[in-house]
């Protein structure tokens, strides 16, 4: 294997690990806020049981979906489906991040989300099932499962696609997600409060850009299924991903500037990271 190939594989693996880690961290922070609110205001036992049940369900979904995708779906179809779904997720994230950075949507505020969850938990009635505070269990389960489902999706899609460069792509993606989860859990347990210092919009912006770029790349390759059945090659091959990232970055920055100018948003309010403390969720 030549030096260029090794460098390419390493860069692709690092990119995969970073993208999966960041995307997973954002989702885990949101899940952590929900579990923390349920634990503090209702019952830690029910909240943690709900979390454990959700992790088990997610593990089962990952195993079944991963095996099914690897065994029964051809490469170009996989690229098309994965690319299209990544593209949809990435564009949604990017759109939200641009609207927030442009001052048209308020940033997500983990403190406000936490207070809302706590308030809802306080006014809800107490119903015991299986010896657990049922509301705390269900809300924690749903929160962790739904946020975790996005993590699973990203891990499977990025991991499977990266197996072209690295036979352990799925392992790298899973490891990055687990690391992100552990980091959020450890920092959260130490802080014992919502992780509002995480610059969520910046992370969402970066991940949205990566998902959109990889999604576009793979979706186009997958279009080859309708032609010769083989993947459709990009000009410049895998280097095109860098071009897509740069193009997406330029386009999104232009969009943010345009929104700020149109709606006369002060630069400080529209800054991607700056107004976490000044706006609602």
């Amino acid at each position: 294997m030549g030096a260029v190939a090794v460098m390419h594989m390493t860069a692709a693996t690092l990119g995969l690990a970073a993208a999966t880690f960041l995307a997973s961290a954002v989702e885990f922070v949101e899940a952590f806020t929900i579990v923390l609110a349920m634990g503090l205001s209702r019952s830690w036992r029910a909240a943690l049981t709900g979390t454990a049940a959700a992790v088990l369900a997610l593990t089962a979904v990952t195993a079944v979906a991963g095996v099914a995708l690897i065994q029964w779906v051809s490469e170009s179809v996989l690229q098309l489906v994965i690319g299209t779904l990544l593209l949809l997720f990435g564009l949604q994230w990017l759109r939200t991040a641009i609207l927030r950075a442009g001052g048209l949507a308020s940033l997500r505020d983990e403190q406000a989300a936490f207070r809302a969850e706590q308030e809802a938990a306080r006014v809800a009635g107490h119903q015991m099932r299986l010896g657990l505070d049922w509301m705390a269990f269900v809300v924690s389960f749903k929160g962790v499962f739904l946020e975790g489902l996005e993590v699973v999706f990203i891990v499977i899609t990025f991991g499977l696609s990266a197996t072209r460069y690295n036979p352990h792509g799925l392992l790298v993606a899973s490891g990055s997600a687990v690391l992100a989860g552990l980091l959020v859990a450890v920092v959260g347990v130490i802080a014992r409060r919502p992780l509002s210092a995480v610059p969520e919009n910046t992370v969402k912006y970066a991940v949205g850009l990566l998902l959109t770029s990889f999604g576009t790349f793979w979706a186009v390759e997958g279009l080859g299924y309708f032609g010769s059945g083989e993947s459709l090659p990009w000009p410049g091959q895998d280097w095109a991903i860098i071009g897509l990232v740069i193009g997406g970055l330029g386009l999104s920055r232009l969009a943010v500037l345009g929104l700020r100018r149109t709606f006369k948003t002060p630069a400080s309010l529209g800054d991607i990271e700056s107004c976490a403390s000044s706006s609602g969720s």
């Binding site: 564009l91 959109t212 193009g247």
Partner: protein
């Protein structure tokens, strides 16, 4: 039946989300890509560029629609 409706609604929220225009744009752009591929209307090397441009337009169009909506409703 209720389960099926709930599941479909969950899938819609999960995949399409609150900006259906983006999903519609992506599907349209990919459909154009397939059409170009099958008809050989342009050189195959251009198809990735056309799709990438279309993705940018889908995002721009969705943002523009949001701007118009905000203007209409007064933010």
């Amino acid at each position: 039946m209720r389960f099926l409706v709930g599941f479909l609604r969950f899938c819609y929220d999960f995949i399409v989300g609150d900006a259906w225009g983006i999903a519609a744009g992506v599907v349209a752009v990919l459909a154009i890509g397939v059409w170009l591929l099958r008809t050989d209307a342009v050189d195959r090397a251009f198809i990735p560029l056309v799709v990438a441009l279309g993705v940018g337009l889908a995002l721009g169009g969705s943002l523009l629609a949001e701007v118009r909506r905000r203007r209409r409703t007064g933010r």
